[in-house]
Symmetry: D2
Subunit: 397 residues, 4 copies
């Protein structure tokens, strides 16, 4: 790979994430000075998904209905997986077996066992792997990671993270996201996965105990749909049937945690937190300062620097859009020319290319091993909610 001047990419899947990845792979070449050329080689989709149309729209050179052929094609260097969670492991393991680099949407897998297998297979095969925890690549979050690493907030004591949405009221039908077989879990895998990864990334700490947890399903039945939508958040999507089906995943999961650095933390994911559309954020309190992030104001990082003269101490709202100072931004626009959600994918695409070219990424990317750690925490929280007692992380493999 390091000798080559290009990376041929295959996208396995379509849906919401197919769109974000396609855009990311396209924009990275237009906005960044990439170390190797990113070639949008082939997109895979089921016949009914019409991958040819997707290829035409987004600039994929080829399309295919046979993922195994794509994954094993000698022309492909990097396999990028965006299928529903239960379908991550098969193409990932095939790609690893074929010696390909693999990038996989989060969470890494539908079950912890699959995650462990994927991590082990990657390790054994020595292929490069990447998981799309894209929020690490919000400039404000990457800056938070750097500031903590520089010691700007001292010793960390409190981690508070939540990822709240409100799209899933009674009117939303029984999408694949509400079916445990297809999604693995509900808000937990969809949302807590992100904030577990994000806080591990920003703090550099690891969770050692889940001290308590609640998993709750407020809306226990939903209308069955004619065909289950493959796509993502489906606000406004209506069912055409009257028949009700059982929701088999959580609507919300809350848990408390202890860290190996002595900090304590709280986490919460929710899909009926009215007024919170995409409230993915954290507050981290250290002995010398604190950091606060909220994706709904994603261009800002809030920093309280307790080493400043007391007279002028306060929460500083840093507009993280300065090319010379803030991660990724020099590739985009001038100061305060606001960046958005989709930019995080181009930023990650760039960092994947960096790693494939043998360079350091702007900030660390989780590989399968790292994402497996996040999956372990997710699993432990669900066990805790069920068994109603604290769970030591060392007991969860």
């Amino acid at each position: 790979m390091a000798q080559k001047d290009r990376v041929n990419i295959a996208l396995i899947g379509q849906g919401f994430m197919g769109r974000t990845h396609s855009n990311g792979w396209g924009q990275v070449s237009r906005f960044f000075k990439t170390p190797v050329k990113a070639v949008m080689h082939t997109v895979f989709g089921m016949p009914n998904e019409d991958p040819a149309a997707m290829a035409a729209r987004w600039g994929w050179q080829n399309s295919s209905n046979d993922w195994q052929a794509v994954v094993n094609s000698p022309e492909i260097d990097l396999v990028d997986i965006v299928t529903p969670n239960f379908m991550h492991a098969p193409p990932a393991k095939a790609a690893i077996a074929a010696g390909k680099a693999v990038a996989c949407e989060k969470p890494i897998a539908g079950t912890l066992a699959e995650a462990r297998e994927m991590a082990e297979a990657a390790k054994k095969a020595k292929v490069k792997t990447f998981v799309w925890y894209n929020y690490r690549r919000v400039p404000a979050v990457a800056l938070a990671h750097r500031l903590v690493k520089q010691g700007a907030i001292g010793e960390i004591r409190h981690v508070r993270a939540k990822y709240l949405q409100d799209w899933a009221d009674e009117s939303v039908p029984l999408l694949w996201r509400f079916d445990k077989k297809l999604s693995g879990s509900g808000a937990h895998g969809d949302l807590n996965a992100h904030i577990i990864d994000m806080t591990r990334f920003v703090t550099g700490g690891e969770i050692t105990e889940i001290s308590g947890a609640i998993a709750e399903t407020f809306i226990k039945e939903r209308k069955i749909m004619s065909g289950v939508a493959a796509g993502g958040i489906a606000a406004g999507m209506k069912s055409d049937k009257a028949e009700m089906g059982k929701v088999t995943v959580d609507d919300t999961v809350l848990f408390l945690a202890k860290f190996n650095n002595g900090a304590v933390g709280s986490y919460e994911a929710a899909r009926q937190a009215t007024g919170n559309q995409n409230r993915n954020g954290f507050e981290i309190n250290g002995s010398k300062g604190s950091l606060k992030f909220d994706f709904e104001d994603m261009n800002y990082l809030e920093f309280y620097d307790a080493t400043r003269p007391r007279e002028v101490q306060g929460w500083t709202k840093i507009m993280c859009t300065h090319g010379g100072s803030h991660p990724y931004v020099e590739n985009w626009w001038p100061d305060a020319h606001i960046l958005g959600y989709e930019h995080t994918f181009a930023n990650q695409a760039f960092d994947i290319l960096q790693v494939l070219a043998g360079n350091e990424p702007t900030v660390p990317i989780p590989d399968f091993q790292d994402a497996y750690q996040t999956q372990r925490v997710m699993e432990a929280a669900l066990i805790c909610a069920k068994e109603k007692h604290a769970i030591k992380m060392s007991d969860v493999k």
Copy 2:
């Protein structure tokens, strides 16, 4: 009482709360049209506290070093208790025995047993009791209570409450607040007590289970002081000794809870949450809307009304200072002439006078029985943190 046109008040204690109550009893007569005259009759203090000076400054007509005499004086109608937590029960029980109305600072007592005894004694003696959970009387919080009661946010699903401070870094010496014998608990009794009461008040729901909890003491030793300060938050207070003593209370307590209305909740109290000086607040999500409050912006209540046309839905920042519309405000100033912390005490003083005169208070005041419920939740959270499993509230008496 109802026949009398005045209420003679005795204040038992001094310190930070002595000051807030004295100011409250004074201002209520200057700003409100009270149903009976509030007479600041006697203030009690230890000889070294110089209650005569306090009387002169705040307008108490008399001072005393003998609380038992004060409590039993036939001239006193209402005994108002502001001593440290472990000293609530003795004067409260004496006052009840003497048939007096009693107002007590929060939490109602240093231990659950005392709280239960106080509640039972009051019930038996049929005296009127009041606990100073003053944040109920922030106009924004009282408005939140009313809106929930009117059904403005529908069925409640999420309760998120936290009370964060940051005054207790390593430089702060071993105040009484760090000594379990004097204070009962740390951040938990000081701060969680308020948010348990406040969310019970606003939601109208009761906690049925503590699902998980963490209690942590980050700073395990502090410098011993020459004389323990009776007063409140003592930021900047310095010890003159090098000797260290053990901290016997929590610095932070987090817990998760389930409610009898099906909602789930998270609570957190902290004293080293850098950047949060008095961050006492909640967010409550219901099926039709949500409410958000933060004491650091105490004049505002944020309301998300999900019944509005989607096009204009959003968080509305209600400046709760309109005399004709918002609780208590008609007694103070015109719109947006900001109110402060101390006003909550005058507001409560007014409502206590209302109840003593046989009228309805502006919004409900917790009596000893009600405050005992809050104390039960506090106790359950500590047990849960210690035993590391879920606790049913029905198991805590």
Copy 3:
């Protein structure tokens, strides 16, 4: 005065400001350690205003219907004037003639000629004078003054000030505030007066030219009232008559200005700026930083420090409630125990006592000469709006 240990105060007037001053003189003795005792000696009111009731409520020792007797009484040390604007000059001049210290509500007078006469009389008689531009004594504003003086924002280039209210819609009747004979002007004297003073205070600069101005009256007629209310903002006040009368003052005045330090500025006062109840604030941009204040969030000062590393530059929201660091606060409550509107009056009362005792005030208080400068700017803006060309301040006496 300096020899005496007390100051006997007479309050001339009642209404909204009578209430704020009475509270200020009362609270200063309860919360501050004053250099001399503030004695609330006598309150004057018209017979129909019932000054005896006011005395009883607020703790004035005496009441009177004869302001001339009060002003000339040998027992009075300080005359405090809170009558409507057109009635400032007579008691002020009488008090000066009697050799008394005088504190006067803002604006100093109903006309520029009266303001000049008052300033000259005070200078000749060498009496101490004070004008109640109370917003100087918001801790955040006093801090802004100090920061600018320390050079924290460098050379000042932009001053942006506005004072917006929205109480004066069509339903409000023809109060004295809408009658030029009684009030002198409308929003201009009521609101621009404050922001002219506040920006002169914070920046230390003087306006040299009014470059352009607009004065507009949106609601040209209002219902006549049976008796003109003496009081302040009368939101909700209803007329019982159908007859309409002419509004003879402005609803809004905007103007642009140049300063002697090279800065440029814009000012705006409005009474129908829907959504702004008491939006009194400024933003000041300097070569090294900027400051922002909004009275509706009066406990905060926002500071942008452009000398910080670019990576962490941003607007810092300083919660100005730290006793050891922020002006006035050590007399009140712990950190983030929010202060309100009324505290500014107690703060000014304290500083007046300081000056009377021969001490330095916390931050400078405007005397009659200083307030006359503000009045000149006000006059120049009205001339500019009328004559439609720039006005040099040197042409306005």
Copy 4:
């Protein structure tokens, strides 16, 4: 055009705006369902600008160094002009003469005379023209336009607009933006142009008088550069020379205005307003409500609805990212998946295609005639600042 199924586009110019337009024309085909296909046919650049490289990067099919040939090519349907202001008129007039549709960056021209000629030429030739006042296509701004049109804020009384930046401190060299011959004006043409257009768009009102104005240049000399940068805001750009040259444009322009609907307004553009990187916004107060927008929080529109029950009135922060409700959004991402600066260009590209296909645009696009009106206001403000008296718009042609 209406018969054709594609529009061949030529981009005349490169620089900052060349990049935003190229991205806009590319993304519109990937995200929108366009009525006709947008073909990125040819990009023109000076030889030293290397248009071939730009073509390769952004997907233009051809590149050229001969703008006249491009403009006159029969293959081109739409000429899109992004050259510096003084170079707008020549290609625009040539394109009009060739009967092409023309889209031009703002302000329409370097001088009012050119603007008038362009508008007249377009009218005579009956070609479709468009000016890239892109901020109309921020979803929040387009929503504001719709709400005002629906009467949501009633009769408009106050317009307050400012566009503040802070990139132009002493360290920035003498870019083309500081040279009147190349740019026409400074902050005025760069920034006031946008807010004049935006407030005309949102309010539907026209300015009838400039009542006062200030134009100021704080930094009168800057270091000369070796080659003038064609590009945009050049924060961090350093000169390699010691020689100083004269700045011939304004750093800031403020002005006051009256509208044909009785409203009054204030405008301000600045380049040294420290702490404001791209603070492009407005507040508009009407008799029934108000609207507030700030580009630094561009995903929000704030709405105060004074027709709501007083109890719950307040500023509502509308997150303008709901596909079913907010303009343009259904083409992008789910709720609160934040949009950025660049999306406004794709939104405008879509609307240009709509107009070219004979459809209605989402919200009105300014044509040359409309942009000429904005230019007249700009000119009047500069005359007012110079002549120091009010200017009637009817006197400016």
